[in-house]
């Protein structure tokens, strides 16, 4: 909302600097975007061109003599419309124009020039407000413009403006009158009455015009008739105030409807009465009903849109935009004035689909029915004065609105209690007086009557806010709430996993949950349905991710493109998906590694499957799942994974994740990824950490190596060894894997180091040899593998 200082001064007598006004409004909760003059140019003067010759060294420049009263200046001007006798705006030497231009004395192609003749564009006015001539030439002032005076003041453009960014609850401030009440409260000034007096003809509008309301979405509809209007240009003050408020002047009648909307906050609509006919019917649109709006676009409506009709067909979209067929034109003689209240939610929906306008914005925020009555009278006042209209007697009224003022009881101690302040009774009552709220004091209770313009106030807390706003809360002494002492809690496990990953040398990322639908279906083992947005910002981000792997792969690619090849990253976040019609949201840990893991002189290790597996084990062991997980190869893999270097992560027999290398078709680098579903994993209980007695007896180590088919995995052999050995085998480690020309081509040798111990006694060689032989015999018998010779 752009506030014109000239405009608001009609209703409240304020005399403060525009920046102070903006800051004072901010303190009571009304933030602003900018504040300043409408025309931000200095040192301008009205001049008259008394001589105009062609420039001797140019085919388009003119050399002029311009009388500014106190002297006559030589000016070179390039505008095609400059001519002898023209009254012009002259920027004198030293003048500062918008965009940082300063006018200097100079010589243009050998001719002296002591200033510049200006168009309104050069003075910073937006092109939509300036006359056509200003777009190619200089501004032409009327013949009677007084030479030597300030042209900005002469044109009535010496206005100052604050562009407010109002909060959604303060619809009342979308009017000059509302602003006047707010400023009146800040500066303790009275608000002046609105002039609603006009004369009326004998003919009553109710005799010739009917209004019928066939929907609950319109609870107040007023209509009046203005006869014999003259369509012409508006007087300067109306045009200038519209410009200050950001609305383009059109003609006196259209301008008056906008002027009243700005002044009182009530949008009006004017119909060409002769084209409209004898009645208005307000109803909901038929499905697919057609209407051509003012902007000459045919709109297709739905049953959620409120329409104005002439009883036969739609002629306007209520609260949003009028129809073309009843528009006020140059030839219009008689006008029906509509002042009504339409349901804000409905208008909001319609305007979202069609057009957000000054009018729809006001309907959405809610309107004061008393203003609806004021506005229609105010329009008549202005039409009578500035469009020579005769106003027909009476008003067509449909009114189911609530015009009662709310009365709210509040205790003094409630106010100070909620604010935690000690404001005196006098100060509190003073706030309500400044706000123009009536009140009755009754001991500890005040009954405040809230004017209908303040739709945002309905409960006592709203009044407390008003006291806080106008009195100010700058002086509140902060204190801490008095509450029982206790320890706070937080999700320690997630934080510990994060710490663990960091100490393992990984960098944590944070990426977007919204990704592309195609990406969202990659790298995934589970069966699920990706969740799509109804109305995405871009196709790139139209789906919620289920896996974080696509995000981490993108991060890898980004870094790799910038020559950051060594990437070891992780992220903890949520994955989303639809499974059996339910939305699920699960915490996941995702890791991606590529390039060098560590690096020293002559001692560099590239990331491979086993490093990532080590990280997985670190996390799982740390969380207490030691001995309950395994990494299992499986033919059922997402196609984006390397079929020979990928495994399921199994905990307690359930798949909780995947670990492996990306398929070469996905990336040309060696990239390893892992994702573990933490929601599933952490749901599995872990036993308490407990001390286990260390054996006091020496342990015995023995090594053995098997030659096996390449396809047999070590885990199978280990399992068998453990089974054969029983519980005296306390550790088993692979210390060598060999393939090469010393053994058969499709075989490998795996060497294990076995540790045996007994916590109750010293083991004898015989005992260990016995177990050892059993291991070998079982391996041969059950797995068909032989000891390496």
């Amino acid at each position: 909302m752009k506030l014109s200082k000239n405009f608001v001064k009609d209703y409240v007598d304020i005399d403060v600097d525009i920046n102070t006004l903006a800051e004072d409004m901010t303190k009571v909760g009304n933030e602003y975007d900018s504040a300043g003059k409408l025309i931000n140019a200095t040192n301008l003067i009205i001049g008259e061109v008394i001589e105009c010759k062609e420039h001797p060294n140019s085919d388009h420049l003119h050399v002029c003599k311009v009388n500014i009263g106190k002297e006559i200046l030589d000016i070179v001007c390039g505008a095609p419309n400059v001519r002898k006798g023209l009254k012009v705006i002259l920027a004198q030497v030293g003048a500062e124009l918008p965009d940082g231009i300063t006018i200097k004395k100079g010589s243009i192609r050998g001719e002296e020039s002591n200033g510049m003749l200006c168009s309104l564009l050069e003075l910073g006015m937006e092109s939509k407000y300036v006359p056509e001539i200003d777009k190619t030439g200089i501004h032409e002032l009327p013949e009677d413009a007084p030479v030597g005076e300030n042209p900005i003041e002469y044109m009535g453009l010496s206005d100052e403006i604050v562009d407010f960014e109002l909060t959604a609850n303060r619809g009342d401030l979308l009017s000059i009158l509302g602003m006047a009440y707010e400023l009146g409260a800040i500066y303790d000034k009275p608000v002046k009455e609105v002039d609603l007096k006009h004369s009326e003809t004998d003919e009553n509008v109710n005799d010739s015009f009917k209004v019928e309301i066939n929907t609950d979405n319109c609870n107040l509809f007023l209509a009046k008739k203005a006869l014999n209007v003259t369509i012409k240009e508006s007087p300067d003050f109306i045009k200038n105030r519209l410009i200050s408020s950001g609305i383009r002047p059109i003609n006196n009648v259209v301008d008056i409807s906008n002027y009243v909307m700005l002044e009182l906050g009530q949008p009006l609509h004017f119909y060409d009465s002769d084209r409209l006919g004898e009645r208005i019917v307000v109803r909901m649109a038929e499905p697919n009903e057609k209407l051509t709006t003012l902007d000459n676009i045919e709109r297709t409506l739905s049953k959620e849109d409120i329409v104005i009709s002439n009883g036969k067909e739609a002629i306007g979209l209520a609260g949003v935009m009028g129809g073309l067929s009843t528009e006020v034109e140059e030839t219009t003689k008689n006008i029906i004035i509509e002042s009504a209240i339409f349901d804000g939610v409905k208008v909001r929906c319609t305007s979202k689909n069609i057009l957000r306008s000054e009018a729809s914005n006001r309907f959405e925020k809610g309107l004061d029915p008393n203003r609806t009555y004021m506005a229609i009278e105010r329009a008549c006042v202005l039409l009578e004065k500035y469009a020579d209209a005769k106003i027909a007697k009476g008003t067509v009224i449909y009114d189911k609105s609530d015009k009662n003022e709310k009365k709210i009881d509040i205790k003094f101690k409630d106010i100070n209690g909620l604010l935690g302040m000690e404001i005196s009774k006098e100060e509190i009552l003073n706030v309500f007086r400044k706000l123009n709220f009536k009140y009755v004091e009754n001991g500890e209770i005040i009954t405040v009557t809230v004017p209908t313009r303040r739709l945002d106030i309905s409960i006592k807390e709203d009044l407390i806010e008003e006291v806080g706003r106008i009195y100010g809360v700058d002086n509140i002494e902060g204190k801490l709430p008095v509450l029982p002492i206790k320890t706070g809690s937080y999700n320690k496990t997630i934080r510990e996993i994060r710490n663990k990953m960091v100490t393992l040398g990984l960098n944590e990322t944070m990426s977007y949950v919204l990704i592309n639908e195609k990406e969202a279906n990659k790298y995934i083992l589970d069966s699920f349905e990706a969740i799509k947005l109804l109305d995405p910002l871009t196709e790139e981000r139209n789906t919620l991710r289920y896996s974080m792997i696509p995000s981490l792969v993108k991060i890898f690619e980004y870094n790799s493109d910038r020559n950051n090849k060594d990437v070891s990253i992780f992220e903890i976040g949520k994955g989303f998906g639809k499974i059996n019609e339910d939305y699920i949201e699960e915490e996941k840990l995702c890791v991606l590694m590529s390039g060098k893991f560590y690096e020293g002189v002559g001692n560099t290790r590239n990331v491979d499957f086993y490093i990532l597996k080590g990280i997985a084990e670190e996390v799982l062991d740390y969380l207490g799942y030691n001995g309950r997980y395994s990494f299992v190869a499986n033919k059922e893999l997402p196609k984006e994974f390397h079929p020979g270097q990928t495994a399921y992560v199994i905990v307690n027999g359930e798949q909780v994740g995947i670990i492996g290398k990306l398929h070469p078709s996905e990336t040309k680098e060696d990239v390893y990824v892992m994702e573990i579903n933490l929601s599933k994993l952490l749901a599995k209980m872990v036993g308490k950490m407990k001390y286990k007695e260390i054996s006091k007896f020496p342990s015995i180590k023995k090594d053995l190596a098997f030659v096996v088919d390449k396809d047999i995995d070590s885990q199978t052999i280990e399992k068998q060894i453990k089974k054969s050995a029983g519980n005296l085998l306390t550790a088993i480690e692979v210390f060598d894997v060999y393939t090469g020309n010393r053994i058969e081509a499709n075989k490998k040798s795996i060497a294990y180091s076995l540790t045996f111990s007994d916590s109750k006694k010293t083991l004898t060689d015989d005992e260990v040899t016995g177990i050892f032989n059993k291991i070998i015999a079982d391996a041969e018998k059950i797995l068909g593998i032989t000891l390496r010779g």
């Binding site: 959604a168 209690g417 909620l418 706070g488 809690s489 960098n507 949950v513 109305d535 919620l544 560590y598």
Partner: protein, 346 residues
């Protein structure tokens, strides 16, 4: 015989003196003290002596033996030391060569901020709670005094996945969940950090961003309590000299509502480019819990009051670490990530 012994002693001492390695030393040891050594043969010749002479000569031999043994020991120690020194000398390395890099990871700056915020509030007895990011319209809006069609919903243009579910636009959604779960029990003291989403994307807005929400409900909670609490938070987070300014504003879920500005931590309030010469920086939205919100979530507004606040984690991180562009957080350039790998000053 005495002379012979003296001679042995003399030559032994000379020989030991000259020895330069352990092998020679061992040879000398055998030569003089061994079973067939010179001193041993002297002892063997003692049987020819008179009983009077024997103890005298015996004593002498033992004295010389001790003497030689002693010398050999000293010599051995010297030689051992020389040998070790030589070995150490040969093992000398260039300590200026680069280290083997022990990988040190890093936490994402936004998570660092979350942990810091959590620690501050946990120390004041708050519980950190979590809620769904894919939220229902009911919890995200309706239970927070934002019925369908409310104009203030425009402040938070949202991503819906169906007419009833959306990505939460604010962590405030968790407020309603906490109140419903507590069934009018008090006090409530929670914060909820997490991801939030709005249909907005430019240099200062990311469609995904972090927020932390705080909620306290009990009897007699006032705006002064809110101010005091936020003072503790902001001073711990942004510097102990920070001051707060409450500017009236509007949020549907609080009444009264305030935007909270903090005195500019760059210029101390004098005015600079960071605070756009105002001396203040807007960092929080806050207010007293709206009676409709209390009622809607099972708390009697006549009995209880409360405060709520919310702040943007991205903005906090930008201020704290001097990060100029919100998009850096989500680009995840490893050169960016690796900068957050150390302990920060308290």
């Amino acid at each position: 015989m005495k002379e012979q012994i003296a001679k042995i002693k003399e030559t032994a001492l000379l020989e030991i003196e000259k020895i330069s390695n352990l092998q020679e030393l061992n040879d000398v040891k055998v030569k003089y003290l061994g079973k067939k050594g010179e001193l041993t043969s002297v002892l063997r010749g003692m049987k020819d002596l008179t009983p009077e002479e024997r103890p005298v000569i015996g004593g002498l031999v033992n004295e010389v033996r001790d003497n030689i043994e002693n010398l050999i020991q000293i010599k051995e120690a010297t030689l051992q030391e020389e040998l070790l020194n030589k070995k150490l000398e040969s093992e000398k390395i260039d300590i200026t060569l680069p280290s083997t890099k022990i990988k040190r990871g890093s936490k994402h700056p936004i998570n660092r901020i979350i942990e810091e915020v959590e620690d501050i509030f946990v120390s004041m007895g708050y519980d950190v709670v979590d809620g769904p990011e894919l939220e229902t319209d009911e919890y995200c809006f309706e239970k927070l005094n934002l019925p369908k069609g409310h104009p203030a919903r425009d402040m938070q243009d949202s991503f819906y996945v169906d007419p009833e579910h959306l990505l939460r636009t604010q962590t405030s959604a968790v407020q309603a969940r906490v109140m419903m779960a507590n069934e009018e029990k008090t006090p409530i003291r929670v914060i909820c950090p997490g991801k939030t989403y709005r249909r907005d994307d430019d240099a200062t807005h990311s469609h995904q961003f972090g927020q932390v929400e705080g909620l306290v409900i009990d009897k007699d909670i006032s705006l002064a309590d809110l101010k005091g609490t936020l003072e503790v938070f902001v001073r711990k987070m942004l510097g102990k000299n920070s001051n707060l300014r409450f500017r009236p504003s509007y949020f549907p879920f609080t009444e009264p509502s305030y935007e909270v500005d903090v005195s500019c931590f760059k210029c101390g309030g004098k005015g600079c480019n960071l605070c756009k010469q105002t001396g203040w920086i807007e960092i929080l939205g806050s207010g007293m819990v709206h009676p409709n919100v209390l009622k809607e979530n099972g708390y009697d507004p006549e009995k209880y009051t409360g405060f709520a606040f919310g702040t943007g984690l991205d903005r906090l991180a930008m201020f704290k670490y001097g990060i100029p562009d919100i998009r850096y957080f989500y680009t995840n350039d490893v050169r960016f990530l690796k900068q957050f790998d150390r302990k920060d000053v308290e």
